[in-house]
Structure formats: structure tokens, C-alpha cells
Subunit: 81 residues, 2 copies
């Protein structure tokens, strides 16, 4: 399915290959797809709090369901070294 | 430092080696330590919402700062296959 167009946006915090450069920003690579999908939908609906939820709410607000599905699948499939 | 005594409690949902058996429960193995630490402290302070936050709040309420530090370090150090 190739790399979703929005990946560079995520990579700015979550790292090029989904491995974050900051100890307080979670890695996404190889994470459970359903968890990523639920988290993005929760952010989109402002249903998540804690950590960087405020910023993630703002980002997710612009994501379509298709974007969310593509990003969740992309990161879940990324190999962790 | 060996395996923290509370690990079996976490493993019931997050899996024996921190790799969850459910697509909607996040893997913990190899996750960023600071992120795990912040998340547990946020759950302990009821500062997180979304996903299984309600259940995690209940669990984290019983964790000491030392428990949280030990669990975060333990799971961050777990290799992801």
C-alpha cells in the first residue's frame, strides 16, 4: 500500500521508522494495529487525555477514517529493529 | 534488577513478554521508558482518558513510584522479537 502521505507529519515526533528519538514520545513501529486505530479515533473525538493528547487531538481532527486506517496499518507493519 | 513482582499482573493483558495477544491492547516491550513512566504516573493521578484508562487508573492507584520506575525500566528493556 506504500507509505501514506501523512507519515512525514507523524515522523516529526515519532521518528523516521516509527522509533521515537525522545524517551517520552512513544514508538509506533510494530505496535498493535487496533490500538493505534482506536487511539487515533479517540484523539479525533477528543476522548483521550494525558501526555500529548492536546496536540494529538489537533492533528487527528484533520484525519479521515481512511487516513487513520492507512496510518495504523503502516506503523503496525513497520519492523522494530 | 530481575523481574518486578507485579509483572504477572501486567502480563495478564499486555502478554508474557510485553507483546499483547489483543490488537487493541498495546505492546509494552521495547517501548520508550519515559513514555511508560509518564503514562503510569498519569494513570495513577487519573490524568489519562480513552482506551482502558478506567481500568488502568484502578491498577496504577496501587503502584508506588518505585513500582512504576521498575515496571517502566523492565518493559522498555524487553527485546521485541
Amino acid at each position: 500500500a506504500g507509505t501514506p502521505a501523512l507519515v512525514p507529519l507523524c515522523a516529526s515526533c515519532h521518528g523516521e521508522q516509527g522509533i521515537s528519538a525522545s524517551p517520552i514520545i512513544p514508538d509506533l513501529a510494530g505496535q498493535q494495529q487496533g490500538y493505534l486505530d482506536n487511539a487515533l479515533h479517540d484523539y479525533k473525538a477528543n476522548q483521550r487525555q494525558g501526555g500529548s493528547a492536546a496536540m494529538m487531538n489537533g492533528i487527528a481532527a484533520h484525519l479521515s477514517d481512511a487516513d487513520i486506517a492507512a496510518l495504523s496499518a503502516y506503523y503496525a507493519a513497520l519492523k522494530r529493529n
